[in-house]
Amino acid sequence: MAIALTIGLGIQACNQSSPIDNQTSDRFQGRLVLTGSSTVAPLAAEIGKRFESEHPDVRVDVQTGGSSRGIADARNGVADIGMVSRSLKEEEADLQSFAIASDGIGMIVHQENPVNSLSNQAIIDIYTGKINNWQQVGGKNAPITVVNKAEGRSTLELFLDYFKLENSQVKSSVVIGDNQQGIKTVEGNPNAIGYVSIGTAEFSINDSIPIKLLPLNGIAATSENVQNETFPLSRPLNLVTKTQPQGLDKAFIEFAQSPQVHDIVQQQEFVPISK
C-alpha cells in the first residue's frame, strides 16, 4: 500500500521537478540541480543561496557524491550542472567546464615536528618508504606515519602526478578520505605527514590546531601563492555541463564565476579565480 502511494507520488514528482528554465527572460524560475564533488558542495550551496535570494523563484539543490558522480550525472542529465574538483580528463572532453575557484595542495606535519622543509626527493622517498624515520631528514628519532589519500580522490591524483609516482609505489600507514580526517590524523600524531587542501589547513592553523604547512619547491604554501599561480600544486574547482549552458544554467555559472561571490569563495577557504 505504502509502495503504491509512493509510486503515485513519484509520478507526481516527475512532473513537478521538470525544470521550467531555458527561458531567456530576466525572471528565472525553476529548479537547478547540482551534484558532485564534496569539496565543491559547501561552496556551491552557499553560492546557490545567494543566487536564490536574487532570483526568488529559483531553487538551487546541491547534492554531493564525488567528482565522478558529478561527471556522470551531468552526462546522463540527472543533474543540470556537475561539480568536479579537478581539471577534466581527456575522456571527459565532451563536457563543458567552468572554473569557479582554485585550491592548492600543501604538505602538512605536526607543529612540534622540527622539520621545516622537505625537498621533493625527500617527499618521494618518504612516500615510497625509502625514508621511514624523521632522523633521516633532520628530525627526531621517530618512525614516519605516512598519510595518503584514498584511490580516486583528485587530491591524490594531483599529488601523484606532481611527484611522478604510481599509487602502488606508495607505502602509506594511514589512508584517509576527506581533508578534515587528514588534519585530525596529523593533529593527533606528532610523527605524521600528509597533504591537504591549503585553504582548509590555513583555516585550521588559524583555529590554533597544532599543524603546519611545509613549503613546496621552496615556495610557501599560502593562498596568495595559489592565487598568483606561483605555487606548483593546485587544482581548479569546476562546474561542468553536458552542452553549452543556456538560460538558468548559464546565469548560475556566470554568477558563480563573477566577483560577486569572491567573498563566499574566500569564506569557504578557497582561492577566487582572477580573470
Binding site: A2, I3, T6, I7, L9, G10, I11, Q12, A13, C14, Q16, S17, V33, S38, T39, A41, P42, L43, A45, E46, R59, D61, V62, Q63, T64, G65, V78, G177, D178, N179, Q180, Q181, I183, G199, T200, F203, S204, D207, Q267, Q268, E269
Partner: protein
C-alpha cells in the same frame, strides 16, 4: 548482594558490576565529550534558524525538520511491514519450515549489507527508477529497507516470547487467530517490539551513508516530502569531515541528535506501552 554476607562478594557479582561500571564510564566519556563541546553552542536560536556559511554559523532548523520527516516516512513504511512479516514468521510458520528459514536467513544477510550499499540502491531504485529524485521520501524509504531486519527479528523474538498458553487458551475459546493476534499477542509482545523500535530508530537516526545519495544534502527548509532534505547525521558528517571549522556546530548538532533520540525513544516506548499495554490491563 542478597544471598551472601556483605564482605564476601561473589566473583560473578564482581564481574557483572565491573562490566556495567566500565561500560558506563566509557559511554559517559563519549557523552561527556559531546556535551562539553556542544552545550556552549546550543541555544534556542540554534534550533530555530537556518544554517549559514556552510553550517559553521547559524542553526539547524531545516535539518531538524528534515530529520523528523525522514524518520516518520521510514517508520510509517517499515513498522507495518516488519510487524506483519514477524507475525507471519512467528505465528504462521514453524521454526523449521523452509520458507521461514529462507526469510530469516535473507534478513540476517540483509542486516549485514553495508549502509552505503543501501544508499546506492536507494539512489538507483527510489530516486531514479521510481522518479522520486533526491527527496525525503527516497531517504525514508531507503532507511525503511535498512531497518527491516532489526525490526522484524526483534518483533519475531517478542512474539515467540509470548507464552503458548495464551494461544491455546484463545484457540480453546474459539477465538479467531486475527482476534488472538490483535487483542492478545500484539500487546503481550510489546517488550520485543519496543526493543526493535528503539534499535531501529537509533539506526535510522544515526545513518549517514544511506542518506547522502537519497535524501540529499540540501539544507533548505523542506516544503514537501519530495524536497531534498539534509539529515542531522549528514550535517554532522559534513561539518566534521568536510568543513574546516565546523567542529563546534558538529558537536552541538550531535547533542541535538541525542536529545531528539531521547525524545523519540521516550515517545515510542510510551506509545507502545500505554497504547498496547492498556488493552491488557483494562
Amino acid at each position: 548482594m542478597g544471598e551472601k554476607s556483605k564482605n564476601q562478594i561473589s566473583l560473578p557479582t564482581f564481574i557483572v558490576w565491573a562490566i556495567a561500571l566500565s561500560v558506563t564510564a566509557v559511554f559517559c566519556w563519549i557523552l561527556g565529550d559531546i556535551l562539553w563541546h556542544g552545550v556552549g553552542q546550543l541555544s534556542w536560536e540554534f534550533l530555530t534558524t537556518e544554517p549559514r556559511n556552510a553550517g559553521r554559523e547559524g542553526g539547524i532548523a531545516p535539518i531538524l525538520i528534515s530529520t523528523c520527516l525522514i524518520l516518520a516516512v521510514c517508520l510509517a513504511v517499515s513498522l507495518p511491514l516488519s510487524v506483519g512479516t514477524a507475525v507471519l514468521l512467528a505465528e504462521f510458520t514453524t521454526t523449521e519450515s523452509r520458507f521461514g528459514r529462507l526469510v530469516r536467513r535473507s534478513l540476517d544477510v540483509l542486516a549485514g549489507v553495508p549502509s552505503i550499499v543501501f544508499g546506492l540502491f536507494g539512489n538507483a531504485f527510489f530516486s531514479i527508477k521510481l522518479g522520486l529524485g533526491f527527496s525525503i521520501l527516497s531517504g525514508g524509504l531507503t532507511l525503511a529497507c535498512m531497518v527491516l531486519p532489526i525490526l522484524i527479528r526483534s518483533a519475531e523474538e517478542g512474539f515467540r516470547a509470548v507464552p503458548t498458553e495464551y494461544r491455546l487458551g484463545a484457540a480453546a475459546l474459539g477465538l479467531s487467530r486475527t482476534t488472538t493476534l490483535w487483542k492478545l499477542l500484539l500487546p503481550a509482545a510489546t517488550p520485543g517490539l519496543v526493543v526493535g523500535l528503539v534499535l531501529g530508530i537509533g539506526r535510522a537516526i544515526a545513518e549517514t551513508a544511506a542518506l547522502i545519495f537519497t535524501s540529499g544534502y540540501v539544507d533548505r527548509m523542506p516544503e514537501s516530502l519530495l524536497d531534498s532534505g539534509r539529515s542531522l547525521s549528514i550535517h554532522i558528517f559534513d561539518l566534521s569531515m568536510n568543513v574546516a571549522g565546523g567542529d563546534a556546530n558538529a558537536y552541538a548538532s550531535a547533542l541535538v541528535l541525542l536529545i531528539l533520540l531521547l525524545l523519540v525513544n521516550g515517545m515510542a516506548t510510551w506509545i507502545a506501552q500505554f497504547w498496547l499495554a492498556r488493552r491488557i490491563k483494562s
